[in-house]
Symmetry: C2
Subunit: 873 residues, 2 copies
């Protein structure tokens, strides 16, 4: 016969899958001798079996519960339902993972019209007894009988009004007697049955209610969204009641062993004298600081402090503890690992290593890498946030908090910034033309585009707050308004953006600057020692490169060259190049761009020192550099001295139906070899200059969008021609690598061929995901949310590598690539390089490095270390 019920003394913390979190910890505390009121746990397996039995408690389970109950009664020396001196119990759910939406707690179970008198007599406190009884009816009515809570609450409020009572404590025994009668009537009326008087019936009904709550819609939705199996089930804990509301020698409290907000090593919590557990949470009375317990209940305080220290040592982590003092005696009701802020997490982890409590590996594993983001960016003041007016919610595209005046065009953003205003740029979506406006802004808000839209990617690169895809907004860039329902904001109005939540607020909210303490540095150093993956950054400017190095980047994994052409003085030359009708004219324009591009590389090489720098040759389709708005085209026509109609014709000719799959990347080099020639010349001349200044630069020239080995052979040949030319012209030999992005499915499939020509692969997982899924990043926002809501996609594949599909192609590419070239250098430069799960996958694939935007470098460092600890090679 399977054991479905375990006394606390039979369990331990290792039995969490069977006993649930709460039950396992109660057992563990019992096991190590802490004062825990007696009790037992009905296992998660019983819950699963309950559903398999067709939603009913079967005989064997009923017997096992009865058996454990008897044992408990024997130990306690009195019984459930005993009229003179009744045993009371609490019933609590306890899943393996704590989960909102499930039934929580029923206290005082065992009281009825008779036993309440017994309780009054033995406690010598009639008020306490009837208060406890009405609480039982109230909780039982709510969670077991499913009677709307307000039906009880309103009667309590009415009573308080009648009596002129400011708080529950102003009510007397008779008031609670009245309420008990009134509550029983509510039960009769709502369920057409009286409140169950038999404590055994109460118990079984409560157990069933816990089982049922496992499958209520809220709990199911929660599990689906959090990827928790429906087949885990919940445990049920039945525990002898102790009372914090027995008078001024009693009380109840909740405390963390360290400060969960700052990490300071000092008890932190709240305490109420003469109160039952839920009073602390409910906020009916204002709880006192746990320190005050020292004066009010000095012995219990001392004992609690020791227990807290013991628990922390025992669990080797900061604990979140519930306790009750019953007439001076301390009882532990729960302990669990305490939730904490990122800042506290770092402090606690580093402190505990220094205290010898945990290892460096454990410290590193305890941080959620994504939480580091909070530390690197400004955040809103939490208090201020509570009162803020939420307008709408978009996607949390780039971390941080920003508050400023809204502007609708890049030009106006630049002007306002120049006037000293703090600017929020509001756009339907951004394009490369908006870069300068984005630089001038403190935050960016877009109505369209997903987590990997242009706005999101660029903002993350800049470490700027961005909320994207706020689809409810109706933005008119012409009228300079953004509307949502009744609200209409115009140029110059203040809004506040929370890039961590996607929330958009009306008006100003105070922000707090980011602070990185010494313990952050310590933890990251440990992480660096542990990880196998190198971490590089995606950066195209000396400023971003410097920021990334500050954050620990070990090189540049992706230097995009296209952004360099959008600067004021360059875009005109670039456009002239694009609109050239002959190769000669194109070469002339490129010759003007070359020195600018070379100086860019010199500046970046200087910042990066001897760290490797991977430079991607021009990737976007040429039409991205041309204006599309009528006015811009007219202006450009004037600048270039061509007719408007001719210019429009060229723009029209260059336009593409699916630019993502169009004339871009290395395809440009096949049609216009001179563009890549210019870029390679700039790279090699820059590297030569650095070499002459005594540096050891090894530029890694990356050819994008390769899908076929002959393409790579063709482009590589032209790259090599220029390298030889620069070598001849300068008389210097600079070492270099030539490699390719793996971002087209066909490149992954034919990676054995590709690796014959490529010295390195860098996975461009953004495009690889687009093509493998057939999802356009720019358009998928429209349906990806629906896909996630409907459970079709568990994760946004643009945020976290889809291991099943995209990952399979990466695996193929790594395997085939290494077969052809055993020293092939392998990296990733897609947005995924900064996502912890994806970093773990890259570790598992055996890549050499990940590359991500500067502000994600610390996240990647930590995630890489965690992967190395979890999966040592």
């Amino acid at each position: 016969m399977k054991q479905y019920v375990y006394a606390f003394r039979e369990g331990s913390s290792e039995m969490k899958p069977l006993l649930g979190g709460k039950g396992a910890n109660l057992a563990e505390m019992t096991r190590i001798g802490l004062p825990v009121p007696g009790g037992f746990t009905i296992t998660t397996e019983a819950c699963i079996e309950y559903y398999e039995q067709g939603n009913m408690i079967w005989d064997d389970l009923r017997q096992q519960i009865g058996q454990k109950l008897s044992e408990m009664e024997t130990e306690m020396g009195h019984q459930l339902g005993e009229v003179k001196n009744p045993l009371l119990v609490s019933v609590r759910s306890g899943a393996v993972v704590s989960m909102p939406g499930m039934m929580d707690t029923i206290l005082n179970l065992g009281l009825n019209d008779e036993t309440v008198q017994g309780l009054a007599n033995t406690s010598g406190n009639q008020r306490f007894a009837f208060d406890s009884y009405r609480r039982l009816i109230q909780m039982f009515g709510d969670v077991v009988l499913e009677i709307p809570k307000y039906k009880f609450d309103s009667l309590l409020e009415k009573k308080k009004t009648e009596k002129g009572a400011a708080s529950d404590t102003d009510l007397v025994a008779e008031d609670f007697m009245d309420l008990v009668e009134a509550f029983k009537k509510v039960v009769q009326k709502e369920t057409r049955k009286p409140f169950p008087q038999d404590p055994q019936v109460q118990l079984m009904m409560a157990v069933e209610a816990v089982f049922k709550s496992w499958n209520n819609p809220r709990a199911r939705v929660y599990r689906e969204h959090n990827d928790i199996s429906h087949h885990l089930g919940t445990a049920v804990n039945i525990q002898v009641m102790v009372f914090g509301n027995m008078g001024n020698d009693s009380g109840t409290g909740v405390a963390f062993t360290r400060n969960p907000s700052t990490g300071e090593n000092k008890l932190y919590g709240e305490f109420l004298v003469n109160a039952q557990g839920e009073d602390v949470v409910a906020g009916i009375r204002t709880p006192k600081d746990i320190e005050e317990m020292k004066n009010l209940l000095p012995e219990a305080y001392q004992q609690f402090k020791e227990v807290a220290q013991l628990l922390e040592k025992h669990y080797r982590d900061m604990q979140d503890i519930e306790f009750t003092v019953n007439r001076g005696k301390l009882f532990m009701l729960q302990t669990r690992t305490g939730k904490r802020t990122a800042q506290a997490a770092i402090q606690v982890a580093v402190d505990m290593v220094e205290e010898g409590l945990i290892t460096k590996e454990e410290a590193v594993l305890r941080m959620n890498p994504s939480d580091l983001d909070q530390l690197l960016h400004p955040t809103f003041d939490e208090k201020a946030l509570e009162e803020a007016a939420l307008i709408t919610k978009g996607l949390p595209a780039s971390s941080g908090a920003a508050c400023g005046k809204i502007y609708f065009t890049p030009e106006e953003a630049v002007n306002a910034h120049a006037r000293g205003e703090i600017v929020i740029l509001v756009r339907n979506e951004t394009s490369p033309e908006d870069i300068e406006g984005m630089v001038a802004s403190a935050g960016i808000l877009t109505a369209k585009g997903g987590m990997t839209s242009h706005a999101a990617v660029v903002a993350r690169g800049m470490g700027k707050c961005c909320v994207s895809g706020a689809g409810e907004l109706n933005i008119s860039e012409q009228e300079k308004t953004m509307k949502i329902e009744a609200i209409s904001l115009t140029e110059g109005d203040f809004i506040s953006l929370d890039g961590n939540t996607g929330c958009v607020y009306h008006g100003k909210i105070a922000t707090r600057e980011a602070r990185l303490g010494g313990r952050f540095v310590t933890l990251m150093e440990w992480a660096d020692d542990l990880r196998k993956l190198k971490v590089r950054t995606n950066a195209d400017t000396p400023r971003d490169s410097a920021k990334a190095v500050e954050f620990g980047a070990e090189g540049i994994g992706l230097c995009r060259t296209e952004h360099m052409f959008f600067e004021e003085n360059r875009i005109a030359v670039m456009r002239r190049m694009i609109l050239s009708r002959t190769e000669d004219a194109r070469r002339k324009a490129l010759a003007e761009l070359m020195p600018m591009q070379r100086d860019d590389f010199v500046a970046i090489f200087k910042v990066m020192g001897d760290r490797p720098v991977t430079i991607r040759l021009l990737d976007p389709p040429l039409h991205e550099f041309l204006p599309t708005a009528e006015a811009d085209i007219q202006r450009l026509a004037g600048e270039l001295d061509v007719s408007v109609s001719q210019l429009k014709e060229t723009v029209r000719e260059l336009a593409e139906v699916n630019p993502m799959l169009g004339h871009r990347g290395c395809r440009l080099a096949v049609t216009y070899p001179e563009i890549y020639e210019m870029q390679v010349q700039a790279i090699m001349e820059a590297a030569t200059q650095l070499k002459r200044e005594g540096h050891h630069v090894i530029p890694e020239i990356m050819i994008p969008l390769i899908g076929e080995i002959k393409e790579l052979q063709y482009v590589k040949e032209l790259v090599l021609k220029v390298i030889r030319q620069v070598g001849n012209d300068t008389g210097e030999t600079v070492p270099y690598l030539i490699g390719t992005m793996i971002e087209i499915p066909r490149a992954a499939i034919t990676a054995d061929d590709i690796a014959k020509e490529a010295e390195f692969f860098s996975f461009g997982t953004n495009d690889l995901t687009q093509m493998t899924y057939g999802f356009s990043r720019d358009d998928a926002g429209k349906f990806i949310k629906e896909y996630r809501d409907k459970g079709i996609l568990e994760k946004d594949p643009f945020q976290q590598i889809d291991r099943r599909g995209v990952g399979e192609l990466m695996k193929t590419a790594v395997k085939l690539g290494l077969e052809s070239r055993s020293d092939l250098k392998l990296g990733i430069c897609g947005e995924h390089g900064g996502d912890p799960s994806s970093v773990e996958f890259c570790h598992l694939l055996g890549l050499d490095y990940v590359s991500c935007s500067p502000f994600r470098v610390p996240i990647a460092r930590l995630a890489a270390a965690q992967a190395a600890i979890r999966y040592p090679s």
Copy 2:
């Protein structure tokens, strides 16, 4: 020591790789005892070795040539360079595959200032001797010494003018003596050396010239384009000269054993009395019909006829033969398999089976499947074509020939058609809105788009002539003009399109209707018996379905439902549906569409009888159904009674950056389940109606654009719900299959999952190619041509399945799919279904069927049979 030189008597036709085509056939004819002038062949290996030796003829080769030459001289009883009675030889190249651009022939080698007198004496014909000498200098000068041909030709012309000679035959011996002197001066002037007098030197120089011509640029380009290895090399044939120009008892001719144009079993060829080989080709004199040889040289004719029959029997195929009659004696100079038209190919193949010469399998293998296309469509009259004025050349997007008046909008095309005009629709590119205009036109010409653009795909489906991507054209649809360089055509002007070549002509050209004879039917029946693959068609209308059945389609593999919504009375309802703001409004519009859609299916099911019909649920993004031009939007706003700005806003909202990777296919069903619900209802109600009428329809419902198993589960559930509903409503149970397209790389990678829910896979190789390569079909036209010109892409992957990349994904999908479901039905419905190489690949993959546009059905049937013969399972 390796043998590099073979006497004709040492070889055979099996030694083609070593001896080249010409050499092997000369050896074979020698072997079977036909009168072939003696000679020997220098092998292709010698050519390769020549390059490896650093472009020089090494001693051993020189010795082997000398040895064979001596043997030949001994046989003939006189020698090269013998003054009294010189032996003369011809030198000809002979690669394995005949190849334009290589050196062809040098005749009369061995003549010099002395031996020419010997020849004059022995032949008793001074004129003949000097004519032969001047020919040698001319040919040698041109092909060995690389002296521009016109330098000799102009002297000959000058001489003819001087002498008032109409033709060469009017010149006398002295004239040729003069010309010999003049030609020698040209050689001296151009090469600064005299014409080589030593016949041995002449011979070695000629051999080297043949070797060198293997690597000349024209030959290299040809090989690259035709996928011929550069490492094959060419052979060189040296053969004793016989002379057709020895007087009226001599002559030369070329003949096919059957008529290469019609296939009729009758000698077909041309003959010239008193002429050397090149005279027949050069057109200096008009050759006579081979039949006339019967009167002029009756004995030689009889002998030739017998030899021709013998050769055809020996080679078991129609032969193309060159011969010379030297003073009444017949000599065979070449035989090879004769080129023929598609019509002749069928007739010859079927006749030969009936004559017992070849097997049915051989007959089937001899047809080039793509050539069938010519037979199914009208063609231009060949004579008329010679005089036609070519304007430009686009891509041969859909076979056939059309001639008509140009119109620039679908509306005008429809109107002109209604007036009884024959219309050519000229557009920059077509879109689904143009369908009615395309139906009304005899041919379609577009400036943009590739072989698989909208215009190309739809035209092929309709069997209509189409030239796409004629990029040089400058089309203004507003001004109703098409311009190219100086030519400007306007509405109503006549042009002619050749869909087989992509040529666009100015004016009218007479066309010939397609004719399918009985032998075509016979051959196709044989093919059907032999093939393993079934052949279905892609068709969305009863008319196309009927055409396809006539062409032998065994079912519909792809019935696209989107085209059905473009008809006049439907598009408005469709647009109302798309622009609905609520699900209710959408359902109302769909309810109007349902009966129309159901009637479509009823009509198609009726045409198809009990053949399977695969219906793809709606695939394109909704914006494809909305107008984009200002005027159209204004009209639509009026029709729908919404404001223009509101409509524009909706159009803008629905627009996508990359529609190919956007909100389409099953993604529509996740957001708007009611669309697929309507379609499934229409399908099942139509099938029910057919069932009640006694048919056995098993609709195959195909869900497009699946990339993830959960997507399929979600959509399948809603499809099943409707099927059950229709079953309940009608009280009938109709069998059905539910399957999916495999067109997204991720679907192929996760095919084991997908097959758990899908009863069939249909490879959508168009989209699969787009995503695997990252090539947008609509945009790749811009660079794919350059890719092919530069040898980066050997084939357009949208025409022929890329086995290395796309094919690898298909292989994976087949393997994984069958692992999950052993009776999974496998097919292909991309454009590739009608491409012979792709059909072969589908056979190798073990698919159940291919599906292609109606006019390609015969091609697919034949290609499937060839694959089954070549690769029996």
